[in-house]
């Protein structure tokens, strides 16, 4: 990677991953027009692309490299309600898209966890929603700019169809998506009805989730993994969500412009995070028990439960946190839980969040976190205890033939990815190299997983 100043306006800056565990010093540039974007990408031998910069691993920077921000490209280019289509630029934030659609009686799914995530980020990581569908399922077409190939229209039924799978979940490796046409839906209700049910432990969760999934639009759970008693390990709350026509008193569709940089700023409570694993779980449990069993939320708040609760991320301070997401085949779930209980009791990591959802679709596309099974997400304070605990999780996911989410865990090694994704990883490397022989897009994330 070059460390010489590039021949376009740029600033030598440090970029940090959202989880706060990876950093890189880069030449950062913010083209504000298409011609300067294209000339920047043509001039740079290697580059990374940054959207909102909210990815957990450092997917938008490589040490000493050039990071091209898509900040200026955040517009709605066309809206076609008749055909239920909207065409947007990549830096439009999903929260802004949803606000636009809600005002006109439309909806879009799947949605990521926070409204400040960009559409380009959703493409790069082929995000999944709370429980149904992948982002790729809502994309009709997109335009992709790659300096050696020019600007290509990518559809699933044209000569560039191979780029559809390679770009969705490719973490920006194929180039700069200049615009994307999304399939939208008519809004089924002004609000979301959120029903809570108790969950006894982790072992029983999938059966309950499966039954409820047939009855509700979205089903997921919060699980307390700091419980020491085996019978209550992973006890928590099941959430069932459906659209409702009920009118809500709130209409909180504004949101915090969360960034990786401001997440790590020291705030009151930041330094307490390392000792708060159990307490955060208790506090959340008490907060939930005080709420009604059935809540009606405006559609925007229902879509992004973390919006307005960003303090959770700030509590980790500059040292940050780590996330692991594992997809375990249903048949292996109980044995996996037995092992998970044992390693958790042994390591006693500072777990701040546990959550479950079911995936029913098989879409084995390269490194996409997609298959049938139970998805377990774990957040923990970034410290040596968590590192060794997550290494044990690696062993478990291999043993139980599951998949780790490469887009969430910034310490996942290429070895573990090789052992879990196998042929899918090889195909990704081969097809990417075939398209981009010079491997022009580089990032700390790509360098790690493609090692």
């Amino acid at each position: 990677m070059s460390i010489e100043s590039p021949p376009f306006p740029s600033s030598f800056s440090q970029l940090v991953s959202f989880d706060g565990t990876e950093k890189a010093e880069v030449w950062y540039t913010k083209p504000d027009r298409y011609h300067s974007l294209f000339s920047t990408l043509k001039t740079a031998e290697h580059f990374s692309i940054q959207g909102a910069g909210l990815s957990l691993p450092l997917a938008s920077a490589a040490e000493g490299g050039i990071t091209v921000s898509s900040e200026a490209f955040n517009r709605i280019l066309s809206f076609d309600p008749e055909n239920l289509e909207i065409t947007v630029e990549p830096n439009l934030r999903v929260g802004d898209l949803l606000k636009f659609l809600l005002r006109r009686g439309y909806w879009f799914s799947p949605l990521p966890g926070h409204p400040n995530i960009s559409i380009g980020g959703c493409i790069g990581f082929n995000i999944h929603g709370k429980s149904k569908g992948y982002f790729s399922q809502s994309i009709k077409s997109f335009m992709l700019y790659q300096p050696d190939h020019g600007e290509l229209e990518v559809r699933q039924d044209n000569e560039h169809a191979f780029l559809f799978g390679l770009t969705l979940g490719g973490a920006g490796s194929t180039g700069f998506v200049t615009q994307v046409t999304l399939q939208i839906q008519e809004l089924e209700g002004e609000s979301l009805k959120k029903k809570k049910l108790p969950l006894a432990n982790l072992w029983e969760a999938p059966e309950q989730l499966e039954t409820l999934k047939t009855l509700h639009a979205q089903v997921y759970s919060w699980n307390d993994l700091t419980q020491k008693d085996r019978l209550s390990f992973g006890k928590g709350t099941l959430y069932c969500e459906d659209f409702s026509s009920a009118v809500t008193s709130t209409n909180s569709n504004d949101f915090t412009r969360l960034t990786a940089k401001n997440r790590g700023h020291v705030r009151p409570g930041s330094l307490l995070a390392p000792m708060m694993g159990r307490k955060i779980n208790r506090a959340y449990s008490i907060k939930e028990s005080l709420k009604e069993t059935v809540e009606t939320l405006d559609a925007f708040s229902g879509a992004f439960p973390i919006s307005g609760n960003e303090i959770y991320f700030h509590l980790f301070g500059a040292k940050g946190y780590r996330e692991s997401q594992l997809l375990i085949p249903l048949d292996n779930w109980k044995a996996f839980c037995d092992d998970l209980y044992l390693i958790t009791q042994k390591a006693l990591p500072d777990i701040t969040l546990g959550s479950l959802k079911l995936f029913n679709e098989t879409y084995d596309n390269y490194l996409n976190f997609t298959h049938k099974g139970v998805v377990l997400a774990i957040n923990a304070v970034a410290n040596p205890k968590t590192l060794s605990y997550f290494s044990e999780l690696d062993k478990l996911v291999i043993r139980h033939q599951g998949l780790p989410n490469v887009y969430k865990d910034s310490r996942l090694s290429s070895d573990v990815i090789e052992q879990t994704y196998g042929e899918r990883l090889h195909r990704f490397k081969r097809d990417l190299l075939q398209f981009d022989k010079r491997r022009r897009v580089q990032s700390a994330f790509l360098q790690r997983i493609l090692k």
């Binding site: 600033s11 913010k30 504000d32 027009r33 011609h35 517009r75 709605i76 066309s78």
Partner: protein
């Protein structure tokens, strides 16, 4: 800004201050004609504003270099068709170049002068001359702190902006009996792609803040204004320096 006057022509609207201005005026429900060189950027901005605001936004892709009768006709025909009146004229465009320093080529000199001075002067001239036809309510021009204190770097740019300031001041004088307000903003550092990454002596102001001021003050006949205000004092000091000291400055 008065709600009666609701049509604006923005020259240099595709990025930076021009884009921010278009966004804020469209939110106020203005009818806008956006003019810049790059059609794709203009069309993206106009489509976005038409979808997301109550403004009615059209655009014209026009290169300000080599200004001629044909370009002028295209611009004003389009303004007439899409705006009706040009009650607000915003001359925001500005271009600079890495090669704007000695030895200065004729090509660089001509092209920077055309874009930064000649074309905006032609536009200001026509609007001033036909102010009744266009129901003109104000003219706002973005100049630069480089105009009053020229130096060896960016000399063509500074000269062009100084020429534009002179011409627009003349227009102000001509229309002084008509109570048409004029503002010529000498902008300090603005956080745009042009200044991004440069080591600046003072903090850069955001294009959104500049646009806010431009809109808020467009009904006031201010003449030359520094933005941010403290540049007035810095320029005053620089202008007061004896040449023996000024020539040694590197800025």
């Amino acid at each position: 800004m008065s709600q009666v006057s609701s049509a604006a022509l923005i020259i240099g609207a595709s990025s930076g201050v021009g884009r921010a201005l278009a966004e804020q005026l469209a939110k106020k429900g203005y009818k806008l004609l956006l003019v810049a060189r790059q059609e794709r950027d203009l069309s993206a901005l106009a489509n976005h504003l038409n979808q997301t605001t109550s403004g009615k936004v059209s655009y014209l892709s026009l290169d300000l270099s080599n200004w001629n009768e044909e370009k002028s006709q295209r611009l004003f025909e389009r303004a007439e068709n899409s705006l009706g009146d040009v009650s607000r004229l915003f001359l925001i465009s500005g271009a600079n170049s890495e090669s704007d320093q000695f030895p200065l080529s004729s090509r660089t000199l001509s092209s920077l002068f055309e874009v930064n001075a000649l074309a905006p002067i032609h536009i200001a001239n026509q609007i001033t001359t036909e102010h009744k036809k266009w129901k003109l309510k104000s003219i706002t021009v973005c100049s630069s702190i480089a105009a009053p204190v020229p130096r060896s770097r960016n000399i063509a740019y500074a000269t062009a902006k100084a020429a534009l300031e002179s011409f627009v001041t003349g227009c102000r004088h001509y229309l002084s009996s008509q109570n048409i307000p004029f503002q010529i903003y000498r902008l300090g550092y603005v956080d745009t792609n042009l200044s991004f990454g440069q080591k600046l002596l003072f903090p850069a102001i955001s294009p959104e803040n500049v646009a806010q001021v431009l809109i808020k003050k467009s009904d006031k006949d201010l003449g030359i204004v520094y933005l941010p205000f403290y540049w007035r004092f810095i320029i005053l000091v620089l202008k007061a320096l004896p040449w023996t000291i000024y020539k040694k400055l590197s800025f």
